[in-house]
């Protein structure tokens, strides 16, 4: 049995990322953002995106580039402190920003991929976080209902992919990528290395290929700037 390859061209992958789409991205502080796909989105000129992901990156690195280029109409994230342009766009009313506690954003994305409606959380009770959210009482405690998040397209960075889309990651560049990989109606992976099925240890596969629709080869990453 030979598995059909999901490896495709950058052009084909980008054809699924269009104006107005809800785009979820993997990565944390720039590290783990898929740079080749991001460069492609910038070059294609895609705009009016609803972005969902951990943070706004840095002005000139990672997902931050898309924010800085004013391609984003709404951002659902946990913080934008590392990208002052994001703060400026928000204050100027050019980009709507919805803030979410970091672990709760991760859970909302996981819930979206796992076919759950959401999770019950006690994080941020009595703070701005609870504004507009339903509450439930259970076992004498009050919880916020944090709704699941899904995306039209999820973009992910991986260390290695096999043709079927089984993925492994690289140290802390794993971060939100395995979660994001599950929550896109179309999931596109940028991989540093692409191998044949069977080359990855089935015990060590972090993202089973069932979640992956397309794989493009990475042109390589350079995240060092974030701390230099």
């Amino acid at each position: 049995m030979e598995m059909q390859s999901k490896v495709t061209t950058l052009e084909n992958a980008l054809s699924f990322i269009n104006d107005g789409c809800v785009l979820m991205f993997g990565g944390f502080g720039g590290v783990g953002n898929p740079p080749t796909l991001i460069k492609g989105i910038l070059q294609k000129g895609t705009k009016d995106l609803t972005l969902i992901g951990n943070d706004a990156g840095f002005p000139e690195i990672g997902i931050g580039k898309i924010v800085s280029a004013e391609r984003v109409s709404k951002l659902i994230t946990t913080h934008i402190g590392s990208n002052p342009i994001a703060g400026k766009l928000m204050v100027e009313g050019k980009m709507e920003v919805e803030f979410c506690p970091q672990g709760i954003l991760a859970e909302r994305i996981r819930a979206g991929g796992a076919g759950l409606g959401g999770v019950l959380s006690d994080i941020g009770m009595g703070s701005m976080i609870e504004v507009g959210k339903q509450k439930v009482e259970m076992g004498g405690k009050t919880y916020l209902i944090e709704s699941a998040l899904q995306a039209d397209v999820a973009i992910v960075h991986a260390k290695k992919a096999d043709y079927f889309g089984n993925l492994i990651y690289d140290k802390s560049a794993r971060n939100t990528n395995p979660l994001v990989a599950t929550a896109g109606r179309v999931t596109i992976v940028e991989a540093e290395e692409i191998v044949a099925p069977g080359m990855l240890d089935p015990e060590s596969i972090i993202t089973p290929g069932i979640y992956v629709d397309m794989i493009v080869e990475s042109e390589g990453v350079n995240w060092k700037w974030a701390w230099e």
Binding site: V31, G81, P101, Q102, G103, R174, A226
Partner: protein, 218 residues
């Protein structure tokens, strides 16, 4: 915060004394990230990062950095034997699940009840909440490392916080450039006064009542 490296190091060094063998500890960005430099090398501590690392070791030597291995602040780290990598949902599952013994965070304001404000200055700086809310609410012990006063010379330790809260009644210990203050059931307990300040200096620069424990260091 306008404090010299010497003062920041002294604060970090003092915070390091709170860390006991076997603890799982998460460090915020800024001064808290200096704390590991002041731990005895044999101290058995597991440092946790929100991006998905448990068991971070010392900073790598110049030139030895790995672009794929950093802490939640984006700074390069190393790992010790027994470390593990996981996704961010798991990193926060650990925090919410109550598996963190301690977190050391920065702060904008702390109230005498232990309320913490450290995430937003309305109308000025809205960086977003990040992972601080979950750490402050759920770590077993919360230490705040911050300058005693703000850049206008005004107290940051107050009866009530004026800024939006990160979490209520979460802070256990405040370490500043002027003092070490414990948040107790009865109120703020002045435990130590830092050189060259006096107890009077600390009281003047604190916006809440300070108790002194009998037999405690002043």
């Amino acid at each position: 915060m306008g404090m010299g490296i010497e003062v920041r190091n002294r604060m970090a060094s003092r915070a390091a004394k709170e860390i006991k063998a076997g603890m799982v500890v998460n460090l915020g960005i800024g001064i808290p990230s200096l704390v590991p430099n002041f731990l005895a090398p044999e101290t058995e501590v597991l440092f946790h990062a929100e991006n998905g690392v448990l068991g971070m070791g010392p900073s790598p030597s110049k030139g030895e950095e790995d672009a794929m291995l950093c802490n939640a602040g984006g700074f390069p780290v190393t790992v010790i034997p027994g470390a593990s990598y996981f996704d961010s949902a798991t990193a926060f599952a650990m925090i919410r699940g109550g598996y963190l013994d301690m977190t050391i965070l920065g702060g904008l304001e702390v109230s005498e009840k232990g309320d913490l404000a450290n995430w937003v200055i309305p109308g000025k700086r809205i960086p977003g909440i990040g992972g601080g809310m979950e750490l402050a609410e759920k770590a077993k012990k919360v230490i705040v490392l911050m300058s005693h006063v703000n850049k206008h010379g005004e107290p940051k330790i107050l009866q009530e916080c004026t800024l939006p809260l990160t979490a209520r009644r979460c802070v256990d210990l405040i370490i500043t450039d002027m003092a070490v203050i414990e948040v107790s059931e009865k109120g703020l307990l002045l435990k130590e006064v830092m050189e060259p300040f006096t107890e009077k200096d600390v009281r003047e620069m604190t916006g809440a009542r300070l108790l002194v424990r009998e037999g405690g260091k002043k």
